[in-house]
């Protein structure tokens, strides 16, 4: 069973990322559950989606110490959902920083050196500037697919399976940008 937790900020495209992973899991013939977030929390808030696949999946949600991979779209969100990671789990994190409202209003401060602090706990961290890679691919909104690329390179699933699913999942006019973004993420290392 593979449990992947995707954490990000509403509007970053975590839903598409989870749908791509869900479709990859089906292509591989697994049972799968993808849990999404709709409604109020989507509006720029902290959002988390879960993708679980394997022989049989019961609960659609991922608990503490339960994720094989945490795919974080933003550093603070990686920090927040660290508790979901299994002791030997992997954290893939986009090095973008986005201030939440309590930081913007000055009530709280954005923690410094998050990635170093997480690494100090012995966590296997892959940090990537997905925003730059997305821009390089031609659209800064392709951060999600860059991160899927990084994730794909860290699985033993055939790259072609991901590419096929991306082609089928994203609208045609964004296909080329997304495949390029995926490639940039996949070759990041």
């Amino acid at each position: 069973m593979s449990n992947i937790l995707i954490a990000g900020v509403g509007g970053q495209g975590t839903l598409l990322a989870s749908r791509i992973l869900g479709n990859v899991a089906i292509t591989l013939g697994h049972d799968v559950k993808v849990s999404e977030v709709h409604g109020m929390s989507q509006r720029g808030g902290s959002v988390v989606t879960y993708v679980k696949f394997g022989e049989k999946v019961y609960s659609p949600i991922i608990g503490n110490c339960d994720a094989d991979t945490v795919l974080a779209f933003e550093e603070l969100e990686a920090y927040r959902y660290l508790e979901a990671l299994k002791p030997d789990g992997k954290l893939i994190v986009n090095t973008q920083n986005m201030d939440p409202m309590p930081v913007i209003t000055g009530k709280m401060t954005y923690p410094e050196n998050i990635i170093e602090k997480i690494r100090a706990k012995g966590v296997n961290v892959i940090a990537v500037d997905a925003l730059s890679l997305a821009r390089k691919a031609g659209n800064e909104r392709a951060v999600n697919v860059v991160l899927i690329g990084v994730l794909a390179a860290n699985t033993n699933i055939d790259k072609a399976v991901f590419e096929k699913v991306i082609k089928e999942t994203v609208p045609e006019k964004f296909r080329e940008v997304n495949l390029k973004a995926f490639d940039l993420g996949y070759n990041f290392a």
């Binding site: 900020v9 509403g10 509007g11 749908r19 869900g22 479709n23 089906i26 049972d31 799968v32 559950k33 993808v34 849990s35 999404e36 977030v37 709709h38 409604g39 109020m40 929390s41 989507q42 509006r43 720029g44 808030g45 902290s46 999946v57 019961y58 609960s59 659609p60 949600i61 608990g63 503490n64 110490c65 339960d66 603070l76 969100e77 920090y79 927040r80 660290l82 508790e83 990671l85 002791p87 973008q96 986005m98 201030d99 939440p100 409202m101 309590p102 930081v103 913007i104 209003t105 000055g106 009530k107 709280m108 401060t109 954005y110 923690p111 602090k117 706990k121 966590v123 925003l131 800064e140």
Partner: protein, 575 residues
Amino acid sequence: MKKLMLGNEAVARGAYEAGVKVVASYPGTPSTEISEFAAKYPEIYAEWAPNEKVALEVSTGASVAGARSMSCMKHVGLNVAADPLFTASYTGVSGGLVICVADDPGMHSSQNEQDSRHYAAASKIPMLEPSDSSECRDYTKLAYELSEKYDTPVLLRLTTRISHSQSLVELFERDERELIPYKKDAMKYVMMPGMAKRRHIVVEERCAALTDYADESGINKIEYGDKKIGIITAGDCYQYAKEACPDASFLKLGMVYPLPQKLIKEFAAKVDRLVVIEELDPIIENHVKALGINCDGKNILTLLGEYSADLVKERVFGKKITDIKTADEAVPPRPPVLCPGCPHRGMHYVLKKIGLRVTGDIGCYTLGALAPLESIDTCLCMGGSVSMAHGMEKATGKSDKTVAIIGDSTFMHSGITGLIDIVYNKGTSTVIILDNSITGMTGHQDNPTTGKTLKGEATKQVDLELLCKACGIDRVTVCDPFDVDKFEKVVREEVAQSEPSVIIAQRPCALLKSVKFEGKMYVNPDKCKKCRMCMKIGCPAISFKDGVVIDETLCNGCGLCQNICKFGALSKEVE
């Protein structure tokens, strides 16, 4: 063929396969997508009604006319539809009638955590509860069979995790059905005391028959495993419990009203320890206890929030997870915020600046209650802002300090009745209708003011200005909330009047495809006095480090901050 589907999409698929002809709903998270997916089938007529009561009356009418029909709503929407619900239980149906109600344990996107299962018992309408997308499809189809066989509406209860989780669903063909021939039958469909007394007898007989069905049909299933522990559960809780302890014995309930009796007694007798696992209220647990059977339930679990496999492991099996890695410091929360370019931001800024008492309502604009905007004083229910402002005035006397704010869709839902109340009962309140050309919070649904139907067809548009005038409001002003100076002037003027007034704050939702801002804002460091005025609008794209910083991935160039800055330090850089 198997497809990955949201629970909501699977319900729509079930309705399609069951031959449903009419769907009438009002959007509400987490129920919204059922109707949206249903609308995609050409064979199904689907509409957004102005509110849930109207929706259920439409689907009841379609049922009486002989078609299979459906209404979908969130838990609080069922409160609005409760009036037709209770009496439709008496009349029964002709074509099958299914009411989907989606509860939100954990309140991901709701104002309370009410448990809709109470409505099933109170209205004596059977209720099914699926535990994954495949069951969403199956139970929807079953609901139509039960509806027609037992002559009753059927409730289909969903929860956020069922509605918004995708799992695999097998697809079947549609069962195209002829309309059931219409028969005038006043004894069945005209509910006056004489008729209703006879129908009540029918309802009670039906409940007894459905209890037998709950015991014998197989909708409620025993899965024997380790008999040291037996778990009675339903819906998403079945999945949590199954993950926490796959080897236990289970009585999985697919029908949560009426509940089985013989089956529970049989199951309880065979297991050493009985535990009921259900989110929110102890409905199954109380039933078990009323049968004279002891069990664990809320004594070890909780009435609050959403359950999880972790919670079941800890509370039922005493297995606490250790070795959790956590952050070294307090991680700032990230509450939802109004989007960059949101038309509501300018209004909230003005209302806070004037220092008005603001009765709020249900929609994106409720986020204006949070820092730094903090303009809203109350949020109760759909339409509540208008009537509450009137109530405040009647309690305190004429006050120029209160305004009601309400979205266009919410106003059509149930704000209009409050406005009529103000006019009729000589109130002088000011109501601000936020006309952003769409139903925003639930993800862009059309409504009577947008000029488009759920099926995507052009239609007549309700003219809010004329409507308010027709209600008896003589002072109706249309104003752009981004023009903060003018908006402030209008609000000050209207609240000072000794008659009721309406301000229509008109500007489309920034997420609409038709809305295009150009370029992005930039800060001129020479002009910026670091006064932080621009921080008061709570735009997620503006932060303050050593000076004002614009996050260019978030800024859409809406220009509101430019209207706030007194020093011309913010301006547009057109690409």
